[in-house]
Structure formats: structure tokens, C-alpha cells
């Protein structure tokens, strides 16, 4: 597998593109890429990127998303764009996109994407799927459920929700020659390739356990028979207007932890908004009767979770034959919450990963408003869940 990666921080979009294309092409040494990944900061979100890439690489599927910053090897690049071209005879990929999710409803759009992916991929060995979602998509879990209905409930999926410059205003996805929003882009990977995925977050539970007494999908209505918002009001001693004002901040640092039998870590849920009746709109589903707790993260717990994720990725598992030495590239889908929590030490996450995986392996990806990855516990049979605040590593090799 040949990997060509180019990164640029030039402010002019055309010169930045020329720079990344030049770098990436050089590393491919003339091989034709099977697929191209493009991640850019909001400044670069423009169809010009796709037009140019299509000119240089006609017929090559191009996928990607906008991001707050780009993690690449040991550094984090702001106001930049990265292009990764992957070329291999053994690799088979298919891409598809689901648009107008709000109109279609998340579940139906997820199903649609699954159908389209399978159709484009044909009858071949499928390994795993990758998913890029609009970062402001409210019903991430439902979309995932729709997709899983078509791809198989235990089919591994690694996903990332695009981010913007922390304005939570608009995110974009790159799909062949279209710059899209209110959408999701899927990539089905197959052929004679190997892969592995791992996920952790490092947030710890605090205080009493509570029970979700009333919920509907991602709408958390009551906790312990009280309006759900009371949960945060009590913990932070903030009245509704102040709570609403600080919501993004509070929810990022102190999400709700969902207890899952057998899993070591709680699944985290960010709050997107508070309804008038005190219900909380979460980014992923919160099933009724779930046991929940408030979660707290520290830089240390966050970094040790990153180390754990990297260790899990390279741990030889009988089911996955990808060993440390055959990894060609590692995708990082890293939650923006971690970036906010770690602040100036955000690059330490990358250094922590590099301490575990061989240094020469290219490591790149994006910062996300939500992540998707399978759970490890046997009870869940590797089913992919919607996560928040987590770091997902996906290693691909031959």
C-alpha cells in the first residue's frame, strides 16, 4: 500500500492545493490512487478544492470533511489542508453520500447510504466502513442504526462528524466534486487489506448514578422523574438562562455518561440544546432506563485514554491479523472536546500515539463533533455506537 500525504498552511487556496498535490503525488511515485482523503479548515471549504483535485485525479473518489484543525504525525495544524492519497492493487473501495438528511429523517438517510454503498461496492469481500457526517447532525445514532440495518449490525464502522472553527454553525463534507452539508459520506473498504480500530475517551464518572426515566431517541426528557435539565442545574448551581448560555462549554467538559454492561468506559453524550420543558437534546441516543452519571475529564485521564487507544490498536488480536509492522496509515478521529480540554498540550496526544506505534507510520485525521466506533465488550458483538469526546484510531495495512 502506497500512501502520499501533503499538507499546507498557505493562505491562498490554489497555492495550498498545488503544494499538497505536489507532495502527495511525489510519495505515490506515479502509482494511481484508489481514493483521496481531504480534510480542511473552514477557510478552505470551497468547491474549488474538489474541481482542482478532480482535474489532477480524474475518476478517483475524493472524500473528506472540514475540521477545526488537522492532526498530522506529531503536530496539529490550524488553518491548513491535508490530502492523503492511497494506492494499492489489493484495495477495493466504494464511496456514496446521503444528502438532505433532515428532510428524509436520519434513519432513512442511513439506510439509503447503506444501500448505495453496497450497490457501488458489488459482491466482494467487505472489511469495514468509514463514515463522515455533518457535525451538526442531531440524530447521529438513528442515522447509524439505518446504516447498520443495511451493512449488518456488527459490521465495523469508524466514523467522524465534521467540525467547524468551534462556532457550531456549519460544517461541510467533500464528496467527489460536491461540497455538501446536512449530509453523510460513506466509504466501504474491502479487498485483501487488514485493519483495526480502537476507541477511548478517558472521562471518569462522578457523583450518584441516575436513571433515565423518560426518553425518546436522542431526546432525554426525565432523569429520576425530574426534568432532565435539573441534572445540570443542580450540579452547576446555574439557573436556566445561564445554563443555556454555558451549555456548549459545560456539555463539552462534563458530558453525560451512559453505563453499558460489560464496557469499561461509559459512553458519552454531549448535549446540543435544552428544550423549554427542560428536556435535553443529545447528540446520540439515550435509551430509557439507562443508568447515567455526570462525567469529568482531566488532561491526565484524557492522555492516558489516548495511550490506551494506541495500545489497543497495535495489540495483536487473533481476530485481526494486522500487526504493528504492517500498518501503512492511521486515521485519527479526535473529538474537539479533547482539543479544548488539552488546550496547549493537544499535541501531546499525537506524541503519545507515536510512542506506541512505529514512528514512520503516517498519522492523520480530523477533529470531530462526534465519533463512531465499535464497542469491544462481547455483549455488544462489536456493534458500532455513536460516541462523543472520544479518540478513534483506525489502522489500515496489507
Amino acid at each position: 500500500m502506497r500512501i502520499g500525504i501533503g499538507i499546507s498552511q498557505k493562505s491562498d487556496i490554489i497555492s495550498a492545493l498545488q503544494e499538497v498535490i505536489k507532495q502527495a503525488k511525489k510519495q505515490l511515485t506515479g502509482e494511481r490512487p484508489n481514493i483521496g482523503f481531504i480534510f480542511t479548515s473552514m477557510e478552505f471549504a470551497s468547491p474549488v478544492i474538489l474541481k482542482t483535485l478532480n482535474l489532477y485525479f480524474p475518476q478517483v473518489p475524493i472524500v473528506g470533511a472540514t475540521t477545526l484543525a488537522i492532526p498530522f504525525n506529531s503536530r496539529i495544524y490550524r488553518r491548513s489542508l491535508i490530502l492523503c492519497l492511497i494506492s494499492s492493487e489489493n484495495l477495493k473501495v466504494a464511496v456514496a453520500a446521503a444528502k438532505d438528511i433532515k428532510k428524509k429523517t436520519a434513519f432513512v438517510a442511513g439506510q439509503e447510504l447503506g444501500i448505495q454503498l453496497l450497490k457501488n461496492f458489488g459482491y466482494q469481500k467487505r472489511n469495514f466502513a468509514m463514515l463522515f457526517c455533518d457535525g451538526l447532525l442531531e440524530e447521529g445514532s438513528k442515522f447509524l442504526a439505518g446504516l447498520q440495518e443495511k451493512l449488518g449490525t456488527s459490521f465495523p464502522i469508524a466514523g467522524a462528524s465534521a467540525s467547524d472553527n468551534l462556532r457550531f454553525k456549519q460544517t461541510y463534507l467533500y464528496f467527489n466534486n460536491e461540497l455538501i452539508t446536512d449530509a453523510a459520506v460513506g466509504i466501504l473498504w474491502g479487498g485483501k487489506i487488514k485493519f483495526n480500530m480502537s476507541i477511548h475517551h478517558g472521562w471518569k464518572p462522578l457523583g450518584k448514578t441516575r436513571r433515565v426515566t423518560k426518553s425518546k431517541g436522542n431526546l432525554l426528557i426525565e432523569i429520576d422523574n425530574q426534568p432532565a435539565a435539573n441534572f445540570y442545574k443542580e450540579y452547576f448551581a446555574k439557573e436556566m438562562p445561564l445554563l443555556k448560555k454555558d451549555l456548549k462549554y459545560i456539555s463539552t467538559l462534563y458530558p453525560i455518561g451512559l453505563y453499558l454492561e460489560g464496557e469499561k468506559e461509559y459512553i458519552l453524550r454531549n448535549i446540543i440544546a435544552i428544550e423549554e420543558d427542560g428536556s435535553l437534546i443529545c447528540q446520540g441516543d439515550v435509551p430509557q432506563d439507562s443508568i447515567i452519571r455526570i462525567m469529568i475529564g482531566t488532561k491526565d485521564s484524557c492522555l492516558s485514554a489516548t495511550r490506551q487507544t494506541a495500545e489497543d490498536l497495535v495489540k495483536a488480536s487473533p481476530a485481526i491479523t494486522l500487526s504493528k509492522n504492517n500498518i501503512d496509515v492511521i486515521f485519527i478521529f479526535d473529538s474537539v472536546s479533547r482539543y479544548i480540554l488539552l488546550k496547549r498540550s493537544a499535541e501531546e496526544e499525537l506524541k503519545t500515539i507515536q510512542e506506541t506505534v512505529p514512528k514512520e507510520i503516517n498519522l492523520f485525521g480530523l477533529y470531530t463533533y462526534g465519533e463512531q466506533a465499535p464497542l469491544k465488550a462481547i455483549t455488544y458483538e462489536g456493534k458500532t455506537y455513536f460516541h462523543n469526546q472520544s479518540i478513534v484510531l483506525t489502522a489500515v495495512g496489507e
Partner: protein, 488 residues
């Protein structure tokens, strides 16, 4: 009958005891549950404390981080705007990412043009041309001129006039804003506005201060650029003037050269013309004086001798004039050879012995090692010495001293001829090498001279590639110094 009753009572008693025990156990369990519940509640209370402290800590840390980022941004802007001295470019160096690091995404800057009496836009980040048009149309000049005049910064959180606050927010389409005056001491002043659409942006007085610093830096850069522009323009004007003057001077010099050549030619021609009749006069006077044509009375002889003497002086004058004009026009080339200074000086001293003795003047000479030989036209250099030593004798009162010193000076010899004479007045020093210039002093009034000697000396020295200068003090003495090449 009694037996079963006893058993029943016993069983009942046991049951009662068991029930009692159970109740007790239950009570205990309840107590434990209550305690556990209490502990859990307490833990939850502690959790609240932890969370509230943690969020405060995080906010403080974030505030600090934002300030550090802002300071970095400020430093970067400052570094970039100070690299340019072009006023137009200063604002181009302020980029949207700088602004983002300062916590804003929109910015405008205007400068007040006194000539046109209106604000001119010089910086725009985050606004469309249509929005700019609307802003300019709605701009209340007086308010912003007041900001400039009073040198104060206003912001959405310090402006007390609520309706004005709201109006500014509407005009600039922002939720928070800071407006700071741009006050360069040179030229047009103006104002800088930064703003953000996001209500979550945590602006504080610290932000106001930062923007103030930024405005000051921009003002400073504007001032520097304007001063530079001014200096540059002055320099350009000066250079132009210098060039014009140089051209004028070159032209004047050309004119002078032409005139000078004409003069030389004229002097040369006239001298030649004069010499022919003078030769005849001299010849006939000599014949008459020799009395070959018959005896002459003493009174006639006396007159004839005067004619002869004056003719000699005239010939001498004409020869000097001719030499000067020849040297000037380049007609004479110096036939340079290696000459011993000692020999030359001895010869001249010999020649002037009578005059020296008459006034009892001491002639000393000092030839330093490395300055024994010169590379010069012997005949001409002897004239230099005769003239200079002759002058020294002429202007040195009896019992004085004339000293000659030769010392090496790079690839030349420097020769100093110093006397203890009457000296030359300062105002005459600049003119003594000019033709026909004679210093006004009693000796010159008494003794005759052509006023060509020093002029000739200067020309001979310069024709050798040397130079001559003079230092003098009235009643103390004069030193003539000149340089002449050494043999290579």
C-alpha cells in the same frame, strides 16, 4: 391435648421471636440503607463542589489561554506591520486568522480624509461589498470623529448609551464590538472596529486593552510610514536639486575651461608677438651700449642701460607667461628623471649665496632617509626651488633662517620650505597662487615682481602630479610645502 397445645405455643413463641429478630434486622438494614443513601448524597454534594470548582478552573485556564493566544496574535501583527513602510500595506498585513486569535471575526478600519471631509475604508475583514456599502451609508461621522478627538475606546460592554450600543451592533452586524481610535501624530487619523457575531465570545476589559494596543501599533506603523514617505520625498527633491546644481556647475566649468583656453591662447599669442620686437629692442640696445656704433654720452648710456634692464625684465615676464600657458595647455611635457634633492638644493643655494649673505640669512637643509631622490623634470623643479627660496629670502628680514626639509610621504616626497619672514595675511592665503596676485605688504611695494612666480610653481608641481599648499603666520614666518613623486 396438652402436648400439642404446648408445641403450638412454643412454635408461636419461636415465630414471635423470629419475627422480632427479623424486624430488628430490617430496621438495621433500613438504617444501613439510609446511611448509604446519606453517604451517596454527600458524595453527590462533593461531586457538585468538585464540578463547580473544576468549571471555574477550566474557565480561568481558558481565559488565560485566550489571553496568551491574543498576545501572540498581537505580537505577530506587530512584527508584520512593522516590516512595511508603505501605508497601503500596513492594513493588508492584518489577516483574518490574527483577528480570530484575538477572539473576533470581523474588522473595519477607516481614516478621516480632511480634504474630502469623509471616512475612507482601509481595512475590511468579514464583510461583503454590499454590507460595506450599507455600513458607509449608515456611518455617523460625528460620533467617530468624537472618538478620535477625545481619544477614547468604546465597546459593547462599556458603552452606557443602550440605544447607541444597539444601533452600532445593528450597523456592523455584531453581538459584541470594540472601537478604538487610530491616532498617528502625522497625517489622517481614524478608527478601528473589531467585532464578533457570537454571543458566547467572552469579552472583557482585557480585550479592550488588547485592541487599544493593536490600534496604537497600527497608528505607530502609519506614523512611521508617513514619516518615511516624507523623508523619502524630501530626499528625492534634494537629489533632484543636487543634480540640477551639478549640471549647472558642470556647464559653468565647461564655460570656464573654454574661457581659460582662450585666455591661454591669447596670452601665448600676445607673448610671442611681444617677444619678436623685444628681441630687436634688446639687440639694438646691446649694440648701442657696446659703443660699436660710436661713443655715447654718459647720460644716454645711463638711459640705455635702463632700457636694457627693463627689456630683460619684460623678457623674463613674457617667458614666465609663456611657460604658464604652455603648461596649462599641455604643450609642455615634464621630462621626468631621477634627481638628487641634495644636488638641486646645493645648486640653488650656490646661485643665491650673494642674496643670502647680504641679509645674513641662514639656510638649513634636512633630507630624511627615503626622501633623498625625486622623479622630476630637473629644469622645471629647479625653477620651483629658485622661486620659493628666492621668495623666502625676499620676505625674510636680516639674520633670519630658511629651512628646507624633505620627508617621505607615501610614494612621494614632501618638501617644506620654511622661513622666519614677515608672513602672509590670512585673507591673502587663498589667492597667492593666482596669476598677477601680489600680497599687499611694504616689501612688495618696494621691490618689483611679476606676480607670476607662485602661479608658475603651482603649475609645475601639478604637472608632476603633486600638490602645493602654504601655512603662514604674520610676523612669524611662512612654510610652503609641496609633494613630488619619488622614483619607483
Amino acid at each position: 391435648m396438652l402436648y400439642p397445645t404446648i408445641i403450638l405455643v412454643l412454635l408461636f413463641s419461636i415465630l414471635i421471636v423470629l419475627l422480632f429478630l427479623k424486624i430488628e434486622k430490617n430496621k438495621e438494614l433500613h438504617m444501613q440503607i439510609k446511611q448509604l443513601q446519606k453517604s451517596l448524597d454527600e458524595i453527590d454534594e462533593q461531586a457538585k463542589l468538585i464540578l463547580r470548582t473544576d468549571i471555574e478552573l477550566n474557565k480561568t485556564q481558558e481565559d488565560l489561554d485566550r489571553k496568551i493566544t491574543s498576545l501572540y496574535a498581537l505580537q505577530n501583527i506587530s512584527r508584520e506591520i512593522t516590516t512595511t513602510l508603505d501605508e497601503q500595506q500596513i492594513f493588508q498585513h492584518i489577516k483574518n486568522y490574527h483577528l480570530e486569535d484575538l477572539g473576533f471575526e470581523k474588522s473595519l478600519a477607516f481614516l478621516w480624509k480632511k480634504m474630502n471631509e469623509k471616512f475612507i475604508l482601509v481595512l475590511n475583514i468579514g464583510y461583503t461589498p454590499q454590507e460595506i456599502e450599507n455600513i458607509i451609508a449608515a456611518l455617523n461621522d460625528d460620533f467617530y470623529l468624537k472618538i478620535i478627538e477625545n481619544k477614547y475606546t468604546v465597546s459593547s460592554f462599556t458603552l452606557s448609551d443602550a440605544s447607541l450600543n444597539k444601533k452600532i451592533k445593528e450597523i456592523f452586524k455584531v453581538q459584541s464590538f470594540i472601537i478604538a481610535p487610530l491616532l498617528p501624530t502625522e497625517g489622517d487619523k481614524g478608527f478601528l472596529l473589531v467585532g464578533t457575531e457570537y454571543p458566547e465570545a467572552n469579552l472583557s476589559e482585557g480585550s479592550e486593552e488588547l485592541i487599544n494596543i493593536l490600534a496604537n501599533q497600527i497608528s505607530q506603523a502609519l506614523e512611521n510610514a508617513r514619516l518615511f514617505e516624507k523623508t523619502w520625498q524630501t530626499q528625492q527633491e534634494l537629489e533632484k536639486k543636487i543634480e540640477e546644481r551639478t549640471q549647472e556647475l558642470s556647464k559653468a566649468l565647461e564655460d570656464i575651461k573654454i574661457i581659460s583656453k582662450r585666455k591661454t591662447d591669447f596670452v601665448s599669442a600676445v607673448s610671442h608677438e611681444l617677444r619678436t620686437p623685444l628681441t630687436s629692442i634688446k639687440g639694438y640696445t646691446s649694440i648701442l651700449l657696446s659703443e660699436k656704433l660710436g661713443g655715447i654720452p654718459p647720460s644716454v648710456k645711463e638711459r640705455l642701460e635702463k632700457i636694457n634692464h627693463h627689456t630683460d625684465e619684460l623678457v623674463h615676464l613674457i617667458n614666465d607667461l609663456l611657460d604658464i600657458s604652455r603648461i596649462e595647455s599641455g604643450k609642455i611635457t615634464m621630462k621626468q628623471e631621477v634627481c638628487s634633492l641634495k644636488e638641486i638644493i646645493d645648486k640653488i643655494a650656490d646661485l643665491l649665496t650673494i642674496q643670502l649673505k647680504e641679509k645674513n640669512i641662514q639656510l638649513t637643509r634636512q633630507i630624511l632617509p627615503g626622501a633623498e631622490y625625486i622623479f622630476a623634470d630637473r629644469q622645471h623643479i629647479e625653477r620651483v626651488f629658485i622661486n620659493l627660496i628666492g621668495n623666502a629670502i625676499k620676505f625674510t628680514p636680516s639674520n633670519g633662517t630658511i629651512s628646507i626639509k624633505s620627508s617621505p610621504f607615501n610614494d612621494q616626497c614632501q618638501i617644506d620650505i620654511a622661513d622666519t619672514g614677515i608672513g602672509i595675511p590670512e585673507e591673502s592665503l587663498n589667492y597667492i597662487f593666482e596669476e598677477f596676485y601680489r600680497v599687499d605688504n611694504p616689501i612688495n611695494q618696494k621691490l618689483k615682481g611679476t606676480g607670476l612666480g607662485l602661479s608658475l610653481v603651482k603649475r609645475i608641481i601639478e604637472a608632476h602630479g603633486g600638490s602645493i599648499w602654504v601655512k603662514s603666520k604674520l610676523n612669524e614666518g611662512t612654510t610652503f610645502s609641496f609633494t613630488i613623486p619619488k622614483p619607483t
